[in-house]
């Protein structure tokens, strides 16, 4: 009975920043975007095959847009026959997987073809992609039949660096995911990402920085394929220590102990008689009165 199976929806958000991947192709030709997409496809096939009722979505996160690689707007799951270009599976694979793979490769080609980098738009729109993923999950949840339950998770494969401008959006997305009990897993290829570490910590997902990029497929299958129920039975990499330190408003340094203005709550690393954000004047009194004004910021771990 369909209602007995709990649906599991996996949304993979792949960072396809063309600049980073282009540079990567020049740095390390063994591992390029093609290899990455192959690994992602392997994992998505595995996910679909695990249980009949599993669902999948793949979003490509580009510098100018977030694009759904799978499923396609114009394609429905049962729509094999109408397709002329792909006449069934060539290697005896499950039809759904064949169609899916073809679709994905088609879409990524189209996406990369129409890439244009304008101005300073060199950063991956990760927050936007995550927001799209959340909306997709929400829509699928609404379309469920009565009595069906669905567990969803988002897997982020990150290549390029964090974008500091997206911080607020990112945090909003993380908290929204937490509210909806959606796990955010992160598989990081290059540099550690503080935002994704926080995301995984807050939502309860797994964060992994792969040491060997060419073994990406193995890491994906080992660590990120099991869903949250199964993870409790497995021995997986332990959670990372997350740096929750705040950054001071003046220098953007991460600090552990600082001064907080009681009016506007802005954080400073040094005492100053006037808060530069809200222009409140603090009365400078005797030394021991200054001690009383100091509020300590402790790392919120």
């Amino acid at each position: 009975m369909a209602s007995d199976d709990e649906l599991s929806l996996l949304v993979i958000v792949v960072d396809v920043n063309p600049i980073w991947w282009g540079q990567q192709a020049q740095r390390e030709p063994e591992f390029t975007l093609s290899k990455c997409m192959d690994a992602v496809m392997v994992m998505s096939n595995a996910h679909l095959v695990m249980t009949r009722s599993n669902k999948l979505a793949i979003i490509a996160s580009h510098c100018r847009e977030s694009h759904f690689l799978y499923p396609n707007k114009h394609w429905k799951a049962g729509d094999f026959a109408g397709d002329e270009s792909s006449c069934g599976s060539r290697d005896g694979k499950y039809e759904l997987l064949t169609v899916g793979n073809d679709l994905i490769s088609e879409e990524i080609k189209n996406l990369m073809e129409r890439t244009e980098v304008r101005g300073q738009q060199t950063e991956t729109l990760l927050a936007g992609s995550l927001a799209k993923a959340l909306c997709y999950i929400h829509r699928v949840t609404k379309e469920l039949e009565a009595g069906q339950e669905m567990k969803s998770r988002i897997l982020v494969i990150k290549a390029a660096d964090d974008s500091a401008l997206q911080y607020m959006n990112f945090m909003n997305v993380i908290f929204a995911a937490q509210k909806q009990s959606i796990l955010i897993d992160a598989c990081v290829l290059d540099a550690d990402s503080g935002l994704l570490q926080q995301a995984c910590d807050i939502t309860g997902g797994l964060y992994l920085k792969v040491p060997q990029k060419i073994a990406l497929g193995q890491y994906l299958l080992w660590v990120f394929l099991p869903d949250s129920d199964q993870r409790s039975q497995l021995v997986l990499p332990p959670p990372v220590h997350v740096d929750y330190r705040a950054a001071c408003f003046c220098h953007r340094n991460l600090i552990e102990i600082g001064y907080v203005c009681s009016v506007c709550l802005s954080i400073f690393c040094n005492f100053s008689p006037i808060c530069t954000t809200c222009e409140t004047a603090f009365k400078i009194a005797l030394p021991h009165a200054m001690k009383a004004k100091k509020k300590k910021l402790k790392p919120t771990t």
Binding site: P18, I19, W20, W21, G22, Q23, A25, Q26, T32, L33, S34, K35, M37, D38, A39, M41, V42, N45, N101, S105, I108, K109, M112, E113, T115, V117, T122, D161, D162, A164, Y167, M168, G194, L195, L208, Q212, I214, A215, G217, Q218, Y219, W222, V223, V235, L236, P237, P238, R245, A246, A247, F249, R252, L254, V263, C264, S266, T277, C278, E279, H288
Partner: protein
């Protein structure tokens, strides 16, 4: 002539002995060499044939305590100091068992059963009377405080533990320990324990329903509640009671007279007879007159206009010449008399509620004021009247809003908030040429992309990845740490908790001394520092050593030591500053 048979070991003689109906009363000094008795005690009364816990024996009332020894034994098995006894109780008259119960401050009770065939009641009464005289002498007022402290310690196990840790091991003295707490608690106590006094039911006199006694008599059942109500409502009666009982009349006689007197009855026709309560009647009249004279000072209420001047039912008010005043007093309308009595009674009942505190405070025998509304009218000063008028006229919603001027938040650089705690890192600058190159490269690559899913991984890479992910591998470090609470046993954890609580208490005292303004605080701060040192030496170090002997790696006391060290540093800086200031 030998009282030794009752179990008392005697080593010396006695002088005077009284024999009375087979009982031996010892009045003079006897050296009692029992295990429980201290050097020489004066025995005031011995009562034989007293059973305690189903054992025969004798009861001994001595100068400072009461004791009981079983038959044939030398030692006292039960001994209570008079100071420990809170009260005594006796079994009611009708019961077959004649008993005396002693209730101690701690709540324990001891029962003595008087079994002599001939004089059990007399014995018991004799013992009770003697105790009644002796107990008040030993009643310690300080007991209440001790009881309070005991109660606090019993109720709060944490507090008890703290007490044990700090006071019993002499880190700080008991006074310091209680200094903060007793003050805190006495406030709570007065708030929580001030029970509301039960008011007096206005119908209490009517509740005393007489029952016919068979032959032409009436039987009134008086409970102590009713008696109390009567005393509180009619202080004159209480006065009479105080004057006459127990000297002139017994209680029973007093109440009989009370109910017989016309004072009590409906029609108070003053017969002029020698009635105890005739005076009360007169006093009541006076009281009523003074009440009426005082009137109601509440300017909002005009009682005088409430007059029954109706023509007839449903016909409205007649405004003819008032028939009140003289005519009525002449006629002595019985209705008016009853109404007067009812009013007076109600006023007295109300007065008890309002004036009970006054009555307690005024110990000069001044009769409490008998009007039930004086307190209210005292409050109606002109300003209060104004406020009341204003309240009833104005409505807050309808008044024009005088908006409060709030200080608005004036942010000059609000974009600072949107950056979040990620530091602005210098991005890897890519020249535009680099960018173009990368984009072209990737475009070229994906144009020729076909998925080759069978060649995603080679076995060697896969196995290295698996090795890294297996327990002990590169990525699995730090996952097998056991939680510290699984490694340290429970009793060590408990002890550590107690240490924290005790240290916290001491540190709280220490830090509350700063800033040091008064000489008292200076002394206290010095004392607290020595207390802290003592705590560290007597409690912390042994615990640490014990931990080191058993569990090597965990440093459980690091934080405690850090806190103590901070306190020491603070003390040191304060001290040096003080020295500098002095020199």
């Amino acid at each position: 002539m030998f009282p030794g048979r009752s179990g008392l070991k005697v080593t010396a003689g006695w002088v005077l002995m009284e024999e009375k109906e087979g009982e031996y009363r010892q009045i003079n000094r006897v050296r009692a060499g029992t295990a429980m008795a201290t050097s020489s005690e004066e025995v005031l009364l011995i009562v034989k044939r007293v059973r305690q816990k189903k054992q025969d024996g004798a009861l001994y009332l001595m100068a400072e305590r009461v004791a009981w020894a079983p038959e044939g034994k030398d030692r006292f098995s039960v001994s209570h100091l008079y100071a420990d006894i809170r009260c005594q109780k006796i079994s009611p008259d009708g019961k077959s068992k004649i008993q005396l119960q002693l209730v101690l401050h701690t709540g324990e009770t001891t029962n003595f059963h008087f079994t002599s065939e001939s004089s059990a009641v007399k014995d018991r009464d004799a013992a009770k009377d003697l105790l009644q005289q002796l107990l008040p002498k030993f009643k310690r007022k300080a007991n209440k405080e001790l009881e309070e402290k005991n109660r606090m310690l019993q109720e709060d196990p944490l507090l008890f533990q703290l007490y044990k840790d700090l006071v019993v091991s002499q880190v700080i003295s008991a006074e310091e320990f209680w200094a903060n707490r007793v003050s805190m608690n006495s406030v709570d106590h007065s708030l929580t324990n001030s029970k509301q006094e039960v008011g007096i039911s206005a119908a209490f006199l009517a509740d005393v329903r007489p029952q016919t006694d068979g032959c032409n008599g009436l039987r009134y059942n008086l409970t102590s509640d009713i008696i109390e109500s009567i005393f509180r409502t009619y202080p004159a009666v209480k006065q009479k009671y105080g004057e006459n009982v127990p000297h002139n009349l017994t209680e029973k006689e007093f109440w009989t007279r009370f109910f017989q007197s016309h004072y009590f009855h409906r029609d108070r026709i003053s017969t002029g007879s020698q009635d105890l309560f005739a005076e009360c009647g007169k006093l009541d009249e006076q009281g009523l007159k003074s009440m009426v004279g005082q009137g109601v000072r509440n300017p909002m209420v005009d009682l005088v206009s409430f007059e029954d001047k109706s023509l007839d039912e449903g016909y409205g008010i007649s405004s003819g010449p008032s028939t009140s005043g003289h005519n009525k007093t002449l006629k002595e309308n019985s209705n008016a008399a009853i109404i007067k009595r009812f009013n007076h009674h109600s006023a007295m009942v109300l007065a008890t509620g309002l004036h009970k505190q006054d009555a307690q405070n005024e110990q000069n025998g001044e009769t409490s004021s008998t009007d039930g509304n004086s307190k209210d009218s005292d409050f109606f000063q002109p300003s209060v009247k104004k406020v009341k008028l204003k309240e009833s006229i104005e409505y807050a919603d309808l008044v024009q809003e005088n908006g409060r001027k709030a200080v608005s938040l004036n942010l000059k650089k609000s974009d600072r908030y949107s950056h979040g705690p990620t530091p602005v890192q210098c991005q890897q600058y890519a020249t535009s040429q680099d960018i173009i190159n990368s984009v072209n490269c990737i475009r070229h690559e994906t144009a020729n992309y076909t998925p080759r899913l069978t060649q995603v991984l080679s076995s060697s890479t896969a196995s290295t990845a698996i090795a890294a992910l297996s327990p002990g591998g590169v990525l699995m470090q730090g996952g097998t740490q056991q939680a510290i609470n699984q490694m340290v046993p429970n009793d060590a954890q408990c002890e550590l908790k107690h240490l924290y609580v005790a240290a916290g208490e001491l540190l709280r005292h220490f830090w509350s001394c700063f800033p040091v303004n008064t000489p008292f605080l200076e002394e206290k701060v010095v004392k607290m520092r020595s207390n802290l040192e003592r705590f560290q030496v007597t409690k912390l170090c042994p615990f640490q050593e014990k931990m080191q002997r058993q569990y090597l790696s965990t440093n459980l006391t690091g934080h405690l030591e850090e806190m103590l060290q901070t306190a020491y540093n603070k003390f040191h800086t304060w001290q040096t500053r003080r020295m500098l200031r002095k020199t």
